[in-house]
Amino acid sequence: MTEGTLKPQSHKPTRRDFLLLTASAVGAVGTAYFTWPFIDSMNPAADILAQSTIDVDLTPIPEGQAITVVWRGKPIFVRKRTAEEIRAAEQTPLSELIDPEADQARVKKGHDQWLIVVGICTHLGCIPTGNKPTQNRGKYGGWSCPCHGSLYDTSGRVRHGPAPLNLSVPPYAFLSETHIRIGTDEVTHG
């Protein structure tokens, strides 16, 4: 129906094809770039990123207990372990573990007393109990998850039940004997 108005296509397609390809490529690249600001706007905003480290004072934490601090909206357990708890954690054979990991790999050298873990059960995200000795810590003496019964030991490693992984260790560093900074591995001075 429409063909009548068109000249027969000339058989020198190369230049137009090249032009068509270039134009389409430029259009596609432009569209891709255009979508980036939209996607990036959903990333954490500048001020939220700036809050991505927090400093914690360790002095008020009594031995055998943990406190919860909030880092990036997540609960972080900071636990001062007793000598017994440290021994238990260190002497557990790796073969007994669901997610084998040595205790030394989960604390900072020379700061064995301090266990810092993300307080989120690796099963489906509930918050385990056991920060206070009065709370249920389960038979491994660490934490126990109220949702589906996962149990963690005094190194925060999963010992029982549906959770597949150990409580994760956030990046942190000791600023001094009594202060840590969570959110960074290195201490920049200040």
């Binding site: 009548g4 270039t22 939209f38 990036d40």
Partner: protein, 654 residues
């Protein structure tokens, strides 16, 4: 037959999606003589999609609450990644949308695209316009600035002229004034309406495809050779148009983002103070002018609504059977008269009603408005019906293939009209040179640091900078340590373990709060005046940085004889009213710069204004940098599409 074709066949047999696309987009027979004025339909469609997209992403960060709305918009501008881009894209997008749609409508008017059998097509278009107006109005309310608030108040009050008006208005507000319920519902509806527009656009397209596009000759297509398939001929032409459109839109986003805005809308809404000049956005100005020109409230409102509603009757008011103005020697003149009339109405709407145009024989704005309003309605009610009867049209060509018109694009330079509101008795503001002005300008780092020093030592005793965080000062060239030290000099409130309110040193993520706990405390300490937050001050005053500079440098100890200065006030010719509560803040010797220099008052003013300009537009440098890339991109895109279009169209015989 390869497997992809098989899948497509399988789907298409059950859901004719692919044949629909093929039929309606690719093969769709289109008149071969459409000129560039026909580009604006597709541009409107693209703009609608971009507006919806940017709107959805802005809504993810916006807070529809009177306490939060204004600040959340600033939060988007300063903290959300590319937030300033999304917001300026959206805000200028409203302007672009109306430009494109108005041109699209004028094109329909010129070429008679509303005539049989396209009456419903036109009427659906008018519905789209109405929905757009409602959407744009509600969207303008959302930033909750002064213009937002007072625009909402004035527009909703229009409904008070109708029977039960009082109740209607209270129903619209959800209260006894524009307030939180109003803002909430406007947000909900502002989100909904664009999707209604999409729905009506689909109907508009169905109606369009029923009889196909009109064309510059306005005659029906008779032979197959009058038509060409939409793809690739009009797809490439639309892409070329999109490239040019992108250049214009990008210019405003990146280099002049507040051109169409009002400085007053960078002042948070205040239900107790109406701004001195309240004007709607430019796209409502002609209708606003009609409203104001008529001295009777009810009649004025009816005429304003009538000015849009009359468009519904256009297909029947125009009695001529000839569509295109090309063949209507008299109609053509009336059409252009009507276009000019609309511009004059816009001009009238931008000026205050009591304005007198001395250059035009002391014509009052009121009279001009009445004349142009009369012409507006006369065009529809007298010219169109009568011309159809008395006008002798030129002979129509037999088919499209006879002549093909070539028209070129007209550049849009007509929009400066709305920007002519001038301050009345204050002297005009002298223009200074600023490091950050012009397309290549950047903030001078040394000026910024000096300016910040002046802010700290002088301004901060009364004014806050609540949208700026200490960490943002990194842009001034301070490092993390210096910023920490600066922050620690200020105190913020916090709650301690025992629930007591304590003061502790600020940290880099805190905002630079003002010295007063609340407005009452601020007024009590300042002789009843309220020192405004300075975060947006250069954007929130007509004249911007030049105004602030003039204000800071133009205190006069001895006021002119005829001026009476109230107790505790100071004479400053640039402050509206001439009296300002702020004591002259800059005196030589109040600060000493690090290099030991004691700057002059002018130098200090220059530095602090540079700093305040940065505080208001911290994204300026990034914005311009990105702007160049985008402009270069669109230039290349447009060029490529132009050559591609030329080659593709070379196959079409005249």
């Amino acid at each position: 037959m390869d497997s992809i074709t098989k899948v497509i066949r399988w789907i298409d047999y059950r859901l004719p999606f692919f044949s629909f696309i093929d039929h309606e987009l690719r093969g769709y027979p289109t008149p071969k003589n459409l000129n560039y004025w026909w580009n604006f339909g597709s541009l409107a469609g693209i703009t609608l999609v971009i507006m919806i997209l940017s709107g959805i992403f802005l809504a993810m960060h916006y807070e529809p609450n009177t306490k939060e709305a204004f600040d959340s918009v600033e939060y988007i501008m300063r903290n959300i990644n590319y937030g300033w881009f999304l917001r300026y894209l959206h805000a200028n997008g409203a302007t672009m949308f109306f430009i494109v749609v108005y041109i699209h409508m004028f094109r329909g008017l010129y070429y008679g695209s509303y005539k049989a059998p396209r009456e419903l097509l036109w009427m659906l278009g008018v519905i789209i316009l109405l929905l757009m107006m409602a959407t744009a109005f509600m969207g303008y309310v959302l930033p909750w600035g002064q213009m937002s608030y007072w625009g909402a108040t004035v527009i909703t009050n229009l409904f008070s002229v109708f029977p039960f008006g009082e109740s209607i208005v209270e129903w619209l507000w959800g209260g006894f004034s524009v307030d939180n319920p109003t803002l909430n519902r406007f947000f909900a509806l502002h989100y909904l309406f664009p999707f209604l527009i999409v729905g009506v656009v689909i109907l508009h397209l169905i109606a369009l495809h029923q009889h196909g596009s009109n064309n510059p000759l306005g005659i029906d297509r008779k032979e197959p050779r009058d038509s060409i398939p939409f793809h690739p001929f009009y797809t490439v032409k639309d892409m070329f148009g999109l490239g040019l459109f992108g250049l214009v839109w990008a210019y405003f986003i990146f280099f002049n983002p507040n051109f169409f805005g009002e400085p007053d809308n960078y002042i948070p809404a205040n239900p107790l103070v109406t701004p001195a000049h309240i004007v709607p956005e430019w796209y409502f100005l002609p209708f606003y002018a009609i409203l104001r020109s008529i001295p009777n409230k009810l009649l004025g409102v009816l005429c304003m609504f009538g000015a849009v509603m009359i468009l519904f009757f256009l297909p029947w008011l125009d009695t001529s059977k000839v569509r295109s103005a090309t063949f209507r020697p008299y109609y053509k003149w009336f059409f252009w008269g009507f276009v000019i009339d609309c511009f004059i109405l816009g001009f009238v709407g931008a000026h205050s009603p009591d304005h007198i145009f001395a250059d035009f024989g002391n014509l009052s704005n009121q009279t001009l408005g009445q004349l142009t309003t009369a012409f507006y309605f006369a065009f529809f009610l007298l010219a169109l019906p009568l011309l159809g009867i008395f006008e002798k049209h030129k002979p129509l060509p037999k088919s499209l293939s006879e002549p093909v018109l070539k028209k070129s694009i007209i550049v849009l330079t007509l929009l400066t009209l709305s920007h002519t509101c001038s301050a009345e008795d204050t002297p005009s503001i002298p223009q200074e040179k600023w490091s950050f002005e012009g397309p290549f300008g950047t903030y001078n780092r040394e000026d910024l640091q000096h300016g910040f020093q002046i802010y700290q030592q002088v301004c901060s005793t009364c004014h806050g900078l609540k949208h700026v965080r200490y960490r943002d000062l990194a842009a001034l060239g301070y490092n993390a340590e210096e910023i920490k030290a600066i922050a620690a000099e200020y105190k913020v409130e916090a709650i301690d373990e025992d629930g007591n309110v304590i003061e502790k040193p600020a940290t880099p993520i805190d905002t630079i709060a003002g010295p007063y706990k609340n407005e009452k405390a601020a007024r009590a300490a300042n002789n009843g005046a309220f020192p405004p937050d300075l975060s947006l001050i250069t954007k929130a005053r007509p004249g911007g940085p030049n105004y602030i500079y003039a204000l800071l440098t133009s205190y006069e100890e001895v006021p002119p004889k005829e001026v009476q200065i109230a107790e505790g006030m100071h004479y400053n010719p640039y402050f509206p009213g001439g009296q300002i509560a702020m004591i002259p803040p800059l005196n030589s010797g109040v600060v000493t710069y690090d290099n030991g220099a004691q700057p002059s008052v002018n130098q200090m003013a220059k530095d602090v204004v540079t700093f305040l300009a940065w505080a208001a537009e911290p994204e300026l440098e990034e914005r311009k940098r990105m702007g160049y890339k985008v402009l270069i991109y669109f230039a290349i895109f447009t060029g490529l599409m132009y050559f591609l279009m030329k080659r593709i169209w070379a196959r079409v015989k005249d």
